[in-house]
């Protein structure tokens, strides 16, 4: 409350004293002292411990399931199998806020007969202790008859292939048609075609899925859990056959999400067991449960065929996309759509033809993961840009500059981008920040690469997305924010506090944010799709602004001036031209209360609403807006061993306006390392659909030993749709990293590995093949 920053007026005529500052987040102290309670830290008297029995093969028929021995074990309270459940299904679609009809993508809750993926749940156990639950798990007898499965998308499309999803294993298809690609290819001097492959990867949040459920005195099933989406209470209620107001989901600070806690995880099992036993039930996944139990990032095969003139103008683009959606639909159609829309990259291309398919297999189902299809698209389009540059002997950065979209250009789906497109500026600054090249010695080669991108923030506009927030001022001048937003570690709750503090003239210390409770905090929608700050931030901004207006008006009458002469800052309402004439917010709120001034406001923010795009041409608006930026890296590659070391890693992103620049840097730095794992080391290995690498000793995420020198460059065009002109950074910070690394490796060794992850083995093989072809 001591900040005396000079007034900086924005379009909203708001003095920025709190926003744009690297303030200590409201959640930081609790976490840094170990006092924050995560969902797994809650217990209740009489609590039972749950466990899930899963199929250990990917494709089969459940012939027999006998839980009688487990049920007879002392201390076992309930065993639920499909026999014990009504014949209901669980939704796997995107949770909406607006009551629109969801897609028909439901799945069985427990296996009734057919097993479609490794880890599909067969039975639920609740017992007095974790040890008894484990023992009961081992006492359940079952017999599974293996059935032929399908584990490759190409095999799943063949006639006579096992049908995982009726009728033909195709669970999603999108087409985009713009201009005339035949004409565009005819105008081209070169046509370059390449296929890129990405792998299954794991979110690897540090906190495994966990929750605690109980039925309260009103018959409401309460679930306290680690989730990105408290709005799943509706799907849980539907699956349970109870009204929506009889299920409540309470969050806690989430120990990482990255899309992996976007779909339903433990909540439905908890609800079923709590309802069956009428006792509190806790379910905590082991790390292996977590590896086996939630959806993965889709592997994609993406083929780019690009027509380009000799001076580097792209005249036509055809893209063919195939995604492995695994055994259930989940969010695959949307992930596929994101990939198709993102496929042309941040480039203006007049003639585009994109065909995409998501295909069911008996692999683990795939769903949301930071970047959501658009990250896979970037792996392909930015590698293709470097391949084009190499093929036609043109500078790869100039090739990009020649083709970047500019503000006012249309995307491949015909959506006009009205915000700033600072791709060039971001790329130039990122490259400059790499500094002097590192010297290469002996077999070690040094290379550099960039990737630029276009990544949406906010949900698909025909979802008609909304968010609510409530802001109030207490009679002592302190501020409370209530909003359903889940905080998955990026400071989602704290950002709302910073916005309210800015508008109400208090310090962040004077604000408490209550979030993530589907019954008590106004629903704000999901923490997904880089939408939390954009949507919830705007709702908090709107509520704060309305409240500010009332406070200013009341203060003006108290101070005997016009409302436009009053500002709020440093815990005071004061006359702008005569700051001595002031009253504290405490006095103002107390005076207001005694006069019946409304000291709170509930506001809803609505994203742009559109109708779905045309199915045949894919034409129409798809997203509210996009973030643009660049990641640049320098790598060293040992050509004898294939070992890659990332030396420097720079993210430069136009994020519109940083609400908390330190938190933005945190996203860029975290994205840099997550992208590095995606590029170099991470891959889930499935053998006939069975995950054979379900631990951190086999699945290698980057450690402190892998950290390069990371720089974050924040550009602020203030042109976004978020609060104070903010865009989003959660997903954009990750998206360009893996392709930048792939391009740097190709630059270093003179040949390309087209499949992620780029392991030492693949590098050595690529070098050998390049030698043989030379």
């Amino acid at each position: 409350m001591t900040d005396q920053t000079t007034a900086r007026h924005t379009e909203a005529n708001v003095v920025l004293r709190q926003v744009g500052k690297p303030l200590e987040r409201t959640d930081a102290e609790g976490k840094a002292t170990g006092r924050t309670r995560y969902a797994g830290d809650y217990t209740m008297p009489g609590m039972l411990h749950a466990k899930v029995l899963r199929s250990d093969i990917a494709s089969g028929k459940l012939k027999r399931l006998d839980a009688s021995k487990a049920r007879a074990l002392p201390g076992v309270t309930a065993i639920l199998t499909a026999e014990d459940l009504p014949d209901r299904l669980a939704a796997t679609d995107m949770p909406g806020q607006t009551g629109q009809k969801r897609a028909a993508t439901d799945r069985q809750i427990l296996v009734r007969e057919i097993i479609r993926h490794h880890g599909e749940p067969l039975a639920l156990i609740a017992a007095e202790t974790p040890a008894i639950a484990d023992k009961a798990h081992d006492l359940i007898e079952y017999e599974i008859e293996p059935l032929p499965g399908v584990y490759e998308t190409s095999a799943a499309l063949q006639a006579g292939a096992p049908v995982v999803t009726e009728p033909d294993n195709i669970v999603g298809e999108h087409k985009i048609r713009k201009g005339d690609t035949e004409k565009g290819f005819a105008e081209a001097d070169h046509i370059i075609e390449n296929t890129f492959h990405t792998q299954f990867i794991e979110h690897a949040f540090l906190e495994p899925e966990v929750g605690l459920a109980w039925v309260d005195e009103n018959g409401v099933i309460n679930i306290r859990m680690s989730t990105q989406v408290i709005e799943h209470f509706r799907f849980i209620a539907d699956a349970m056959g109870v009204p929506h107001n009889k299920v409540r989901i309470l969050g806690a600070m989430v120990g990482g999400g990255f899309g992996g806690k976007e779909d339903i995880t433990v909540e439905l099992y908890l609800a079923l067991l709590a309802q069956a036993t009428r006792r509190p039930v806790r379910l905590a996944y082991t790390r292996e449960d977590s590896f086996v139990g939630h959806g993965k990032r889709h592997p994609f095969d993406i083929t780019h065929k690009t027509g380009v003139t000799k001076d580097g103008k792209i005249t036509a683009l055809e893209v063919t996309i195939r995604a492995d959606s695994g055994a259930y639909v989940f969010l695959s159609p949307y992930v596929l759509l994101y990939c198709a829309v993102a496929a042309p990259g941040p480039y203006r291309i007049d003639n585009v033809k994109i065909d995409s398919k998501a295909i069911a297999t008996n692999n683990m189902y795939t769903s949301a993961f930071r970047g959501f299809g658009a990250a896979q698209a970037c792996v392909a389009y930015e590698a293709q840009m470097d391949e084009i540059a190499k093929a036609i002997s043109i500078d790869r950065f100039e090739l990009r500059r020649h083709n970047f979209m500019r503000t006012g250009d249309k995307t491949a789906t015909g959506q006009t981008v009205e915000s700033a497109i600072w791709s060039d500026k971001c790329m130039t600054q990122a490259l400059a920040a790499l500094g002097e090249p590192t010297n290469a010695e002996g077999p070690v080669k040094v290379g550099r690469g960039v990737a630029t991108y276009q990544q949406s923030y906010g949900r698909i506009t025909w979802f008609h997305d909304t968010a609510e927030a409530w802001v109030g001022i207490e009679v002592d001048g302190t501020v409370i924010v209530r909003s359903g937003v889940t905080d998955i570690g990026a400071g989602q709750a704290s950002a709302l506090g910073q916005i309210a503090a800015e508008l109400l003239g208090v310090g962040l210390d004077d604000v408490v944010v209550y979030n993530s409770d589907s019954a008590v905090t106004p629903l704000a929608g999901t923490t997904t799709a880089t939408r939390a700050l954009y949507m919830t931030g705007r709702a908090a901004h709107k509520a704060s602004e309305i409240l500010r207006g009332r406070l200013v008006e009341f203060a003006a009458s108290e101070l005997g001036v016009r409302p436009e002469d009053v500002d709020l800052a440093n815990g005071q309402a004061f006359v702008i031209d005569n700051p001595e004439s002031a009253m504290s917010l405490k006095d103002l709120a107390a005076r207001g209360a005694s006069e019946g001034l409304q000291r709170s406001e509930l506001a809803m923010f609505r994203a742009p609403f559109t109708d779905p795009i045309d199915e045949e041409t894919g034409q129409g608006p798809v997203f509210p807006d996009f973030t643009y930026g660049c990641h640049a890296v320098e790598v060293a590659v040992d050509t004898e061993t294939g070992e890659v070391t990332v030396l420097k890693s720079v993210g430069a992103h136009d994020i519109g306006q940083a609400i908390n620049p330190q938190a933005v840097e945190g996203q860029i730095e975290g994205g840099a390392l997550m992208g590095q794992g995606y590029a170099l080391s991470e891959e889930l290995i499935y053998q006939e659909g069975k995950l054979v690498s379900p631990s951190f000793s086999e699945y290698l995420i980057p450690t402190s030993m892998d950290m390069p020198e990371i720089k974050s460059i924040i550009l602020e065009s203030r042109s976004g749709l978020g609060p104070f002109g903010a865009k989003g950074i959660g997903e954009p910070s990750l998206t360009p990293v893996a392709p930048a690394i792939a391009n740097a490796i190709a630059d270093a060794i003179g040949t390309r590995v087209f499949d992620l992850p780029i392991t030492p083995e693949k590098i050595v093989r690529a070098l050998r093949e390049a030698d043989e072809n030379a």
Binding site: G34, D41, L206, G670, T703, M705, M707
Partner: protein, 162 residues
């Protein structure tokens, strides 16, 4: 039910008696006795979220049986947060935004504090090695390194509790 016994152990400077079955890990035992600042991340010694110090040495509490700490001293993050003299690591993590989801934070502070006693002026490599058993998926480690270096500086100038 496996055999249970009471073990005497000093936790964060306070003498305690904890009952534990023979097969219980220190992780489960500490959490059962209210030490929720010790996190469970993998239960296999791969991630470091459960790290505590035993007689000042960082260990994964998920790989340690509770009975083995009889007569020894255990330090958790709570032990670094002395009310009158909190460890400079805590202030440094707050100042530099080194905490995101926070789930790895307790283990990382435990590992970093042990390292700083050995290496009062750590290089990046010293920090990288000390934290190599502690996975973090949010931060890219960058701000953690910055905070650890700052805390080292504060300690060298005589700040903190020793």
């Amino acid at each position: 039910m496996s055999l249970e016994k009471a073990i005497s152990v000093e936790i964060n400077g306070i003498d305690r008696e904890l009952t534990a079955p023979a097969n219980e890990t220190l992780l489960d035992c500490l959490r059962r006795h209210g030490h929720f600042e010790v996190k469970s991340g993998c239960e296999k010694g791969d991630c470091g979220a459960c790290a505590v110090q035993i007689d000042g040495e960082p260990v994964d509490s998920c790989l340690t049986l509770a009975w083995t700490v009889e007569g020894r001293s255990v330090t958790t993050l709570e032990g670094l947060n002395d009310a009158e003299n909190p460890h400079p690591l805590i202030a440094a993590f707050l100042e530099h935004g080194s905490v995101q989801c926070g789930y790895c934070t307790p283990g990382i502070m435990i590992a970093a504090e042990a390292m700083l006693r050995e290496k009062p002026d750590p290089t990046n490599e010293d920090i990288a090695i000390a934290l190599s058993g502690n996975l973090c998926r949010c931060t890219g480690y960058t701000k953690i390194f910055t905070a650890v270096k700052q805390a080292a500086g504060v300690l060298r100038q005589g700040g903190g509790d020793d």
